[in-house]
Symmetry: C2
DNA sequence: CGCGATCCTTGACCGAGATCAAACTGGAAT
DNA sequence: ATTCCAGTTTGATCTCGGTCAAGGATCGCG
């Protein structure tokens, strides 16, 4: 789907921007931009590291920045006044985060793992996007896909039981965490490391940490999964998971 | 926010398209398109009536059409194999429905009230949109706003109690159903008629019909709302509702 | 006006998942 | 090693909302 054979350079000539060696260059919304444009965009943005647990955007803040995820995983959350939290989205490398063309951000963004992002001032980005329809089109496709995923998750939150939620979650992770690199599509991962704590899984599924823990324990007891480490999952019986997912 | 003083004509000269008299012309994504474009778009689309309960798009169907809502209210739903349903979106006049730039639709669309829509073949629309950045920009803004709304709803589905869900729902309806016309912004409606049956409210909130009914009864008993008809709501104590909504 | 169908409400009961509390685990720091 | 501590698991109990089962209201229609 994307060309991954872009030449790797160890030294950057003067005319090259940081984008030329960016590992998500072919997958992020920047893909397809040619040289004058990529240079202009590169001049507006700057790279930033965010360590695990560190916030990047606050809910209800003025929407001041947008970003591309280069590396790592981040969560988008909304919270109630009394501290309940719901994870409303998860951003992986090449994903776009933030709220362009709007005054405020509806969700907080916090890094789940150490992460690197490429941030832009929102109004700079907005202006640039409006002048580059190809970029806006990429952003539109991404936003439509994210809306589809979000709606599927609403079904999970509103109508699925705890066992169904957990099974659906594990299958989803198995696909999302499969091929983050740029190799040929390898299919869903049999084993993987979750970027979430138990509490975060609970916040994603609309459950409590205790229920999540009990469901994991049960799947392990039934031989459906193995749990070699706190965050490690190995799927032993995918068919059983699919049956449970409903 | 939009200009509502577009002249009304009772007869249409030859060169006018149906769009020129369209009541959502100034609010839908078509707003801002000028004459050669609006004529081309008009030629591609056709108007269609959908009666209450009638489907317009089937979940998992090939995404063959997209549409603008002219009049009426429609629901977007996803269902599980065993028949559980979740309403994942509601479309009002001037809203855009369907999945452009994608092979399949993730949700079914069914009319809640008698409705009129302006439908386009998806591939015609896709091609036209790619050639008209201004249209794509409007669609992007709309999709981003819808994503924000959907994420706020995820919080409701995952973390709110039944009383909180009902209160949030009523306040949301009070705003959405306020000024569907094009008059000056009137603020939230004090009384309104729901476009939903009790079962549909349940499908929207991730509850059962019995729970919805009990919560309505309780709000009535507490003098927070009056319920003059099956679908009629009058808000007597908005502050109480806001407190309940959390 | 009365009939029937559909939608809605109410009641009794149940159970999945929340809550409260305590014990366990595994990695980091001393 | 030992201690410490956050994160996790497990157990006991409770409660909110679901389920099952009747009734009641409302509306379209003859």
């Amino acid at each position: 789907m994307h060309d991954c054979r872009r030449p790797l350079r160890l030294v950057e000539p003067e005319w090259m921007s940081a984008c030329d060696t960016c590992i998500v260059r072919n997958r992020a919304i920047c893909a397809g931009l040619e040289h004058p444009e990529i240079t202009a965009l590169s001049a507006m943005g700057r790279r930033r590291s965010v360590s695990a647990g560190e916030p990047l955007i606050w809910e209800d803040d003025d929407s001041l920045l947008v970003a591309n995820v280069i590396e790592g995983v981040l969560k988008l959350t909304t919270s109630t006044a009394d501290g309940r939290e719901q994870i409303v989205g998860v951003a992986y490398p090449s994903d776009f985060i933030g709220r362009p063309f709007g005054q405020t951000s509806a969700a907080s963004v916090v890094a789940l793992t150490d992460a690197r992002v490429c941030v832009f001032a929102r109004n700079d980005f907005d202006r640039f996007a409006r002048e580059h329809p190809e970029l806006e089109h990429k952003l539109l496709e991404r936003t439509l896909a994210e809306l589809d995923r979000t709606r599927a998750w609403m079904m999970l939150l509103g109508r699925k039981s705890a066992p169904e939620k957990i099974a659906t979650f594990l299958l989803d992770m198995s696909e999302r965490l499969a091929d983050n690199g740029c190799m040929a599509h390898t299919g869903p991962a049999r084993q993987f490391t979750l970027p979430f704590s138990r509490q975060q899984v609970a916040d994603l599924l609309g459950l409590t940490i205790e229920t999540v823990s009990r469901q994991f324990t049960r799947l392990k007891a039934d031989g459906v999964v193995a749990l070699p480490g706190r965050r490690d999952v190995e799927i032993l019986d995918r068919a059983a998971l699919q049956a449970l997912a409903g």
